[in-house]
Amino acid sequence: MHVYANPARFLKLARPLTAWLGWAGVALLLASLAVGLFVAPPERYQGESVRIIYIHVPAAWLAMGGWTGIAVTSLMQLIWRHPLAAVAARAIAVPGSVFAAICLITGSLWGRPTWGTYWEWDGRMTSMLVLLFLYLGYIALAAAEREKGGEGRLTAIFGLVGAINIPIIRFSVEWWESIHQKASISLLEGKVSIDPSMLWPLLGSALGFSLLFGAVVLMRMRAELARNKVEARMKRMAAS
């Protein structure tokens, strides 16, 4: 990882990688959503409304994966003082919050035809809403701390402590009785209870969204590095 501590070396790799990830993500996403919406079968009980799964579940995974990424990069920033870690953590926050919002909105729209309600305060929904609020708080704190010109240490600690919500979201449906069903795909138990005809477009869509997420994070990192460079040059010009 320390090879890429040099921003110039990182940028040399990030520039072409952004385009590759972005276009591969868009292609895979369009193909998977086309299969999910037009080829995959309806669900035996839920009917056509099950197709929201191809957006809802990848969004939920990426919202949680995004904060896990913030926690890991925050740890790298605090322990190893990796110069790109803080840039990466801040770059993840905005797309992560967007996926959290997409997850909540699609979940609400899915809940109405299946469960009979747009919103209930059960463990899964409440903890997911908390994740969205954590993202918004993180974005505000990161912007404020950057404005003051600090190292962003408070932001990193917030990113680390906020990660406690991730296992709470994951296990909320197992610890507490909830209206949300239990996990259909569990790596811990090695269980998959989604028919292959729906599972493959779901995994394709999740991978497509993930590649797109990666491309957006790289773009935002490059934008911040460029902004740092501009600010540094302005300061030099003002000083001379």
Binding site: E43, T114, E120, I179, Q181, S193, D195
Partner: protein, 147 residues
């Protein structure tokens, strides 16, 4: 022995993370019952009927228990879980599409002193299995022929 600042930060932060994680997980397991969205029939059997307030109960609608009353909009059914405990439920109104026998349900309402739960709202709860219709129908026919 001189400890490198990098390693000292690593150890301190990992300890802090473990401490925070432990504290929150302890808190979560302590509020196990309070954070549940509804009472299961086994909870009601163990703790008695909460008569004084509106509550939610939930579980599986027992096979063959849904009865429609003469007025056309009132139904009663029995909610069970994987214990022998059951709750009889009375409801007047429209049920969600996914409300059916052998499927999950969450009902909001109050207990009558005789143990019947009078629901003011019914929500359907589906399980984590996603199957295409053909497989599902075959499964349903099998259970029907067993009756």
């Amino acid at each position: 022995m001189v400890v490198k600042p990098k390693n000292q930060r690593l150890v301190l932060l990992l300890l802090a993370v473990v401490a925070v994680l432990g504290a929150v997980l302890l808190a979560m397991s302590a509020m196990r019952d309070q954070a549940s969205f509804f009472y299961a029939p086994a909870d009601v059997a163990r703790k008695g009927l909460p008569l004084d307030r509106a509550v939610r109960i939930g579980g599986m609608v027992r096979q063959g228990s849904i009865r429609r009353h003469a007025d056309g909009v009132t139904i009663d059914f029995v909610v069970g879980d994987d214990t022998p405990a059951t709750i009889p439920v009375l409801y007047t109104g429209i049920t969600p599409d996914l409300f059916q026998e052998n499927s999950g349900v969450v009902a909001e309402g109050r207990f009558r002193p005789d143990g019947t739960f009078v629901a003011s709202e019914i929500l359907a709860k589906h399980d984590e299995n996603y199957m295409p219709p053909q497989l599902g129908e075959r499964g349903l026919h099998k259970t029907e022929s067993l009756e």
